[in-house]
Symmetry: C2
């Protein structure tokens, strides 16, 4: 399908949400901001714009989705998650666009094009991770090594491991003190867009469940890709009218971290069902789709997984 | 023209350049990375990927430009500069795409989706600017006020001043110690793309001249939008075969900072001409285009300015 043109009725970007904070009582600074440039005086006191969120959208000429599809990334990453895969194939942005969905890709507050706030505004510091860290944590393999021949791989893994260096290029620092600001911006986004379908990944699902619990009428579907954390069992009834699809990849049972996260989330989905909700939890190996990592939107079979999601959306009558 | 579909033969993104640095001798940390998530152990020692650059590209079905057009943003900003304008019109990304150019939009190292490096790797700290700061510095008006009625405007200014808050939402922090890393990544980009046309803005032009001086054979055109700094007079001959267009907006003479920057750049352009080069410096008011701010790609007449650039590219035989 990638040899066909992508025909758009529109594309663009905007920032939503955020707030203005005042900083006062600090001395004036001088800095040269461009190489060889003229020194500029900076009075650091004044009003700062902080905690807004960047959103880029693509609207296909032939629309099939009944509602816009919002793609929310996971921790330590940006909306780039859904663009071209590390080995250069089309990501879920292009794939769902070609399937006829209006797609909105955002960078959570403090990530990527959303920018981040001065230290006077946020507690804590940016957290960085090594190249090795996500390799095990995202079930890309057992252990990373700069020498590819020495990497311990997972047999049958669908992640394009040979392009792992490109994956690490899209990692960005994260704060651990900004959850409320992130949730406020995602809330502003769904309020701006109106009724929509949210596809979230990993950490992003924690935010999606929080926003959905507070604004369930705006969620026409919630597709959770390996949620790092699920919703609040005490609020399970809030999402009883939101069709929910939860996908898990392969190698979960033998992974100490992921087996626990999988187990921890189950009671929430049971509680939503008990409240009359509709939750489809799909462990991909159970339906014959094997080898998926935590980054299934980048895996070699990312089209196959997208097809499964599309079929679910059709079954739920969310397409025309 | 914006009621016509945008037809793409491809779109995607990648990161270029960067390097791997080793950090050692630090204690292990524990952090909860997702709200309600399981604490994760972080060994901060190890290999880090740093100083890569994010690039997003859009390739129109009907190509007219002989070479790809690279849009390089200015200081404190990202590639968002060229996307939708603060008041919701199409920016130069869409406009040049509709004109038939392959367009590549990047976020300089340390900005936006390029991420930034740990404090162990970079000296100095991120620099933040107030909402008021660019209002005067970018000749959007004389002085900012949270109360729009109290803003001092420039009569006839083309910037969509009533959407200034949206402009400040796209501002991101900057470092002042990362020039060499930024230049290395831009160099990697032009080497990857091959012969291309670079349109730079403000601080980005300082980088563009540096890269062009080192790789002149890869530059088929250099379009400098209000360069904050020009090239090196001693190297003026390097760019004698690179057609150059330099644009300045309005209100330059009465602006102490911009009148000086305009004056400082002139000897370089004279030196390139003296070396046999081809430099067209256009002060827009001299050709009847009035009211442009430093952010002319967002100004209300941004299509008119893009038309002038397109006409120049046609005149230089850079289109089919």
């Amino acid at each position: 399908m990638t040899d066909q043109p992508i025909v758009l009725r529109g594309m663009g970007s905007f920032h939503v949400g955020g707030r203005v904070v005042e900083i006062s009582g600090k001395p004036t600074e001088t800095a040269v901001l461009s190489p060889g440039g003229i020194p500029a005086q900076f009075d650091p006191n004044g009003a700062y714009q902080v905690e807004q969120m960047y959103v880029q959208y693509f609207l296909p000429e032939r629309r099939k989705g009944k509602f816009p599809l919002l793609l929310w990334h996971g921790g330590g990453l940006t909306g780039v998650t859904y663009e071209t895969t590390p080995d250069g194939r089309e990501g879920w942005l292009n794939i769902f666009l070609r399937k006829g969905f209006d797609v909105y890709v955002s960078d959570a507050v403090e990530r990527g094009r959303s920018g981040f706030a001065p230290p006077e505004v946020w507690d804590g510091k940016a957290q960085f991770v090594t190249k090795a860290n996500p390799f095990w944590r995202h079930r890309i393999g057992e252990s990373w090594d700069a020498d590819r021949a020495k990497m311990k791989r997972l047999p049958g893994n669908q992640f394009p491991v040979d392009a792992y260096d490109n994956f690490t290029r899209q990692m960005v620092p994260r704060w651990t003190s900004t959850d409320e600001a992130i949730i406020a911006a995602y809330t502003a986004l769904v309020e701006k867009i109106g009724p929509c379908m949210v596809l979230c990944h990993s950490q992003g699902c924690g935010f999606a469940f929080r926003v959905a619990q507070a604004r369930p009428q705006l969620f026409k579907a919630l597709i959770a890709i390996e949620p790092a954390v699920a919703g609040d069992v005490a609020l399970a009834g809030e999402l009883k009218d939101v069709p929910m699809l939860v996908l898990y990849g392969d190698f979960i049972a033998q992974h100490p971290r992921w087996s626990q996260m999988h187990e921890n989330a189950a009671p929430y989905f049971a509680a939503v069902r008990a409240a009359g909700g509709n939750v489809d939890v799909v462990n991909l190996p159970d339906v014959g789709i094997r080898g998926n990592s935590h980054m299934m939107m980048m895996d070699k079979n990312n089209e196959e997984v997208a097809d499964l999601i599309e079929k679910w959306l059709i079954d739920k009558d969310l397409t025309d």
